[in-house]
Symmetry: C2
Subunit: 239 residues, 2 copies
């Protein structure tokens, strides 16, 4: 059961109050379909609304921030960790809190990158040219906060599409390779562990994707970029 | 009475159905405050929802597309007109219909520029560097459709903030200056004319701005860029 609130995206610039309100509406829809676990596949929602969702939802809730922070903590050698994400994710301080819980001495620096989500949706994912210029500008601001960063968290589920361009820009700005941590992959692993812990792993037969969206605009263009294959079908829902 | 549906912006990528639904909710709010005219200060809403709004609203409704098309018709010497705007505005064909109504022989070419709104909101409005590279890429696609364009419509109320950068990029791509038409200014003039025609011009005392938004995030940062002065106060409303 996939639900994309495509009528109201992006969430990245919205206030915490709006994000919580919209996220609870999304969760209520999923619960009506008797899901056994809820994955919050958006860092902005994870940053602002994970507590509200955990309180409201009677099944396990897995977000992106805590798994992403754990992966960053494991990857960093010197504890200097950079986080890039939406304005909401960075302003929330959610990664900083999660990382300090793992390592009191960690030094966390965040950089909001509002242009990266529209850039990924536009499909301008080639590392050079415009993506490179934008990523170097944001990462230059991050380097000014802490030049010793050795690990960079892709703190937005859109950023894996821009991974090569961000990695090259980071190498150019910091003068060396940074360890790159993908919060989306980390969340997927954490979801697997949560299903095992809950004894809820499907034992037979392949699962199927039931895709629901609140607006079908651009879906045929955008869905394959994220799914890696064309979208067979979807249902339009009103939250 | 200003209402910004800041919780659900941007509208530029949403489907016509969603834009109509949200626009009618906005209009209902304004009508409860007994406005004497409704200005649709967004090209995407003007393109998708002007008929639905005119049907639903008992006072004059002035959008951006028809005034923008009139100004472009007046500015163009050869009838080759380019329109840049959101994906929704361009896909709607609204400018093309309006311009063909004024000049059957006009040749209209549209180019969606999804990155320009987030760029304006990020404040990266300097003509060179990233704005220049993005604008040249979009305008290069426009030139491929019609190299004889002599007039460019800024078919989005965000674009005047990027005007210098767009004008320079257009001169670089087309090899000559294009006439630039600002749909927002054209709409403001049309609104003045509509008030005169309705005998509804305020005769004494200065007006005042009552600003309402559905989400206050980034308001203190963004409002001055569009208003030209700090925002004195605002009210948060739930549509």
């Amino acid at each position: 059961m996939y639900l994309g609130d495509t009528a109201r995206v992006p969430y990245g610039n919205k206030s915490p109050e709006t994000v919580v309100r919209y996220s609870l509406a999304c969760a209520r829809f999923l619960l009506r379909h008797e899901v056994k676990i809820v994955l919050v596949a958006c860092n902005t929602v994870s940053a602002h609304a994970i507590s509200a969702l955990a309180d409201a939802v009677p099944v396990p809730v897995v977000g992106a921030v805590v798994p992403g922070a754990r992966a960053a903590h494991a990857a960093s050698k010197n504890g200097h960790i950079g986080v890039i994400g939406t304005l909401g994710t960075i302003q929330s301080g959610a990664y900083e809190r999660a990382l300090r819980g793992l390592n009191h001495g960690a030094r966390i620096s965040g950089q909001a990158c509002p242009l990266l989500v529209p850039l990924a949706e536009e499909g301008w994912t080639q590392p050079e040219d415009i993506l490179g210029a934008i990523a170097r500008r944001y990462l230059g601001e991050l380097r000014a906060k802490d030049p010793d960063i050795d690990t960079l968290v892709l703190g937005c589920t859109h950023y894996p599409l821009l991974r090569d361009g961000i990695a090259r820009a980071a190498a150019a700005v910091f003068g060396r390779e940074l360890a790159m941590v993908d919060s989306a992959s980390a969340m997927a692993h954490a979801a697997g562990e949560a299903l095992v812990a809950a004894g809820a792993v499907r034992r037979e037969g392949a699962g199927a994707l039931a895709c629901h969206v609140t607006d079908a605009s651009r879906l045929e263009e955008l869905a394959p970029r994220f799914l890696g294959e064309p979208l067979a079908s979807f249902a339009l829902v009103d939250l």
